[in-house]
């Protein structure tokens, strides 16, 4: 098991910068998910960690040792590739023994290990088959098995579930998580799927265009997005973003938008001067159909579009020049064109700088649960 540290790592391909000034630590035993859209540099970062690519600048350390020049085979890491990279001309067993054969490991010991790993991953009946004769999930498990067989101190996974169908993906997610819990091997996992990130990670690192935007526990990323980019990337449906303003009245700082105002929860600091324009973010589930506290000011919206999902319905509402998505109950009484009054809850309203998108409210001291428990000011 190992800890990893990226220290001001850059990777340039000609004029293009794939990874810019990456500083990231992965603690021993962590399940770190590198999350981001395709092309954000997450796979490049992983490949540099694997030794398949080399930083243009900066250092990568495993257990404190700089590994920039260490070839992949000598880093004691194992990798599961997106395409699994199984050798099509070998049986499952051949694929599993390939590494030990290359490293000239003891054959009897290898056989015992394979039996054990095959047992764990339920591959035993498949050992004689070739990859072409396996289902997607089975191939995935073989790739996982090949990595497991190494008993590495570091597991690397590059979108390992992206080629599976939805049901299988859910199942494999659970399997990988339980495997990680059991073995405790430090894991770096690349994905663009926020559900995978939220459900599997002990820590998430979000990257955009080669830059790390935020790293932290999944709940913290969701509750306290450091930027507009992170806020809109995490959470489905997306957080609503509308134009707003900071108001100062009677010594109270208020956020104004959608023709109404709200007050951030007590104890939260708004780092913006009064009168400055901001971007206001509200998650669809945080817009209410009834006042969150007596006397709360509402705003009016017309139902423009309904997306019934069964247990809930997402309603797109037109409010003046803005449009917001609101979560309603599954069997909603809402009708198209109907005009309703909606309410904002100041506790769950986010504000971002209109220029650079950085979060203007520091929530790091409070989890959402804390806020929810707190009584709202009138």
């Amino acid at each position: 098991m190992a800890s990893v540290s990226f220290d001001h790592v850059w990777r340039r391909f000609g004029p293009h910068t794939a990874v810019a000034d990456l500083c990231l630590d992965i603690a021993d035993g962590d399940f770190l998910v590198l999350l981001g859209a395709s092309g954000c540099g997450k796979t490049t970062s992983l490949r540099m960690l694997a030794g398949l690519d080399e930083p243009s600048e900066g250092e990568i350390r495993i257990d404190g040792r700089v590994v920039n020049k260490v070839p992949p085979g000598e880093r004691d890491v194992a990798m599961v590739f997106q395409s699994y990279a199984l050798f099509p001309h070998m049986t499952v067993e051949g694929n599993l023994t390939f590494g030990p054969r290359m490293r000239r490991e003891n054959k009897a010991a290898t056989r015992a290990r394979i039996a054990e790993v095959a047992q764990t991953l339920e591959l035993t009946p498949l050992l004689g088959r070739r990859p072409a004769e396996l289902s997607g999930g089975q191939r995935q498990r073989v790739a996982l098995g090949r990595a497991l067989l190494r008993e590495p101190k570091l597991f690397l996974m590059d979108e390992p579930l992206s080629n599976l169908d939805a049901a299988l993906r859910g199942q494999m997610r659970a399997e990988i998580v339980s495997l990680h819990r059991r073995l405790g091997i430090t894991t770096a996992y690349v994905t663009h799927d926020q559900v995978e990130a939220m459900t599997m990670a002990t820590r998430i690192a979000i990257m955009f265009e080669g830059r790390l935007h935020q790293a932290g526990k999944p709940a913290a990323i969701f509750d306290d997005p450091a930027s507009l980019r992170v806020a809109t990337f995490i959470g489905a449906p997306q957080m609503n973003i509308v134009d707003g303003q900071v108001l100062q009245a009677d010594g109270v700082t208020m956020l104004a938008c959608l023709g109404t105002t709200c007050r951030p929860a007590e104890g939260l600091v708004l780092r913006a001067p009064a009168g400055s324009p901001v971007r206001i973010g509200i998650r669809p589930g945080d817009i209410a159909f009834s006042p969150p506290h007596p006397g709360a000011a509402g705003f009016s919206g017309a139902v423009e579009f309904l997306e019934p999902m069964g247990s809930e319905t997402f309603a797109t509402m037109r409010c003046g020049r803005e449009t917001v998505v609101v979560r309603a109950p599954g069997r909603t009484p809402l009708r198209l064109g109907e005009r309703v009054t909606l309410y904002l809850d100041g506790r769950f309203t986010y504000a971002f700088d209109a220029e650079d998108g950085r979060a203007l409210i520091d929530r790091s001291r409070f989890g959402l649960a804390d806020l929810a428990a707190r009584r709202l000011p009138a």
């Binding site: 694997a50 030794g51 070839p71 085979g73 990279a85 001309h89 390939f98 590494g99 290359m102």
Partner: protein
């Protein structure tokens, strides 16, 4: 799709047209009084007995040797060269690939005079160097075929091997070669058939009569003062047999049309 009767009929006619010229070979090889004409044969196996002895067998053995040398010379450097061109940082790679492609288009007959001059000066007018020359002649096409096949092998597969601490040579031999085997096999078959059927090259480059190859034996018989039609036919059949067997062994892969598919995709 349901077979269409008109298509079936047309294809049957074409099949017959392809078969018709072959008919003479079968008949004449068994006919005691064979001539160029197609006549009802008076059956005999004498021709086959005649041509499965002595110099005939020697010339077949020589052809085999020639074709094997050519295949090895085309395929082994072809594998490593194609790997370098597919994966390594080779300066002017695109230019090189286009040169290689141009070379595939140059008829071998053109090089025969200069190669003869070179071989004569080196004292190489014999079977082995001729095989090497024929191998070099097939090499551009082999390079192209194998490179195309290797380009299709996912890099991740090599990286997976690399992560398992396999050396470059191990990776090529255990991962890249098996994964691009169809391309390598078609390159090998191409080189083999090219050398096996080669006529003008050994005619000019092989001086020792004990190293004469099959096609020259046939040609020598055709132009002889006293043409032995039956023997020619019988020997041609025996000489063509390995190629037919090769076809039968590979019929399945051929029907996939893989042979050129890769090369055509460029």
């Amino acid at each position: 799709m349901r077979p269409h009767p008109l298509a079936t009929a047309l294809l049957a006619v074409i099949a017959l047209l392809f078969f018709a010229p072959m008919l003479w070979l079968a008949v004449a090889s068994l006919d005691a009084h064979a001539s160029w004409a197609l006549t009802w044969p008076s059956l005999t196996l004498a021709h086959f007995r005649n041509v499965t002895a002595g110099d005939y067998l020697l010339s077949l053995w020589n052809t085999t040797l020639l074709a094997l040398v050519a295949t090895i010379v085309a395929v082994l450097p072809g594998i490593f060269g194609a790997y370098a061109l597919s994966r390594r940082r080779i300066p002017l790679r695109d230019g090189l690939m286009i040169t290689v492609l141009f070379l595939t288009g140059i008829p071998v007959g053109i090089m025969i005079i200069p190669v003869f001059q070179i071989f004569a000066a080196c004292g190489w007018l014999s079977l082995l160097p001729t095989g090497i020359f024929l191998g070099a002649n097939s090499l551009p096409f082999a390079l192209w075929l194998i490179k195309t096949a290797m380009d299709a092998v996912p890099r991740e597969m090599e990286e997976a091997a690399l992560m398992e601490r396999a050396s470059l040579l191990q990776t090529i031999i255990h991962v890249v070669v098996p994964a691009s085997l169809p391309g390598i096999a078609s390159a090998a078959i191409f080189s083999f058939i090219n050398a096996w059927g080669s006529f003008i090259v050994p005619l000019v480059l092989v001086s020792d009569p004990d190293q004469q190859t099959g096609p020259l034996t046939i040609y020598g018989l055709i132009a002889a003062a006293n043409v032995r039609y039956g023997d020619i036919a019988a020997f041609s059949i025996i000489y063509s047999l390995p190629v037919v067997i090769l076809y039968l062994l590979l019929a399945r892969s051929f029907s996939g049309g893989f042979l050129m598919g890769g090369a055509v995709k460029g």
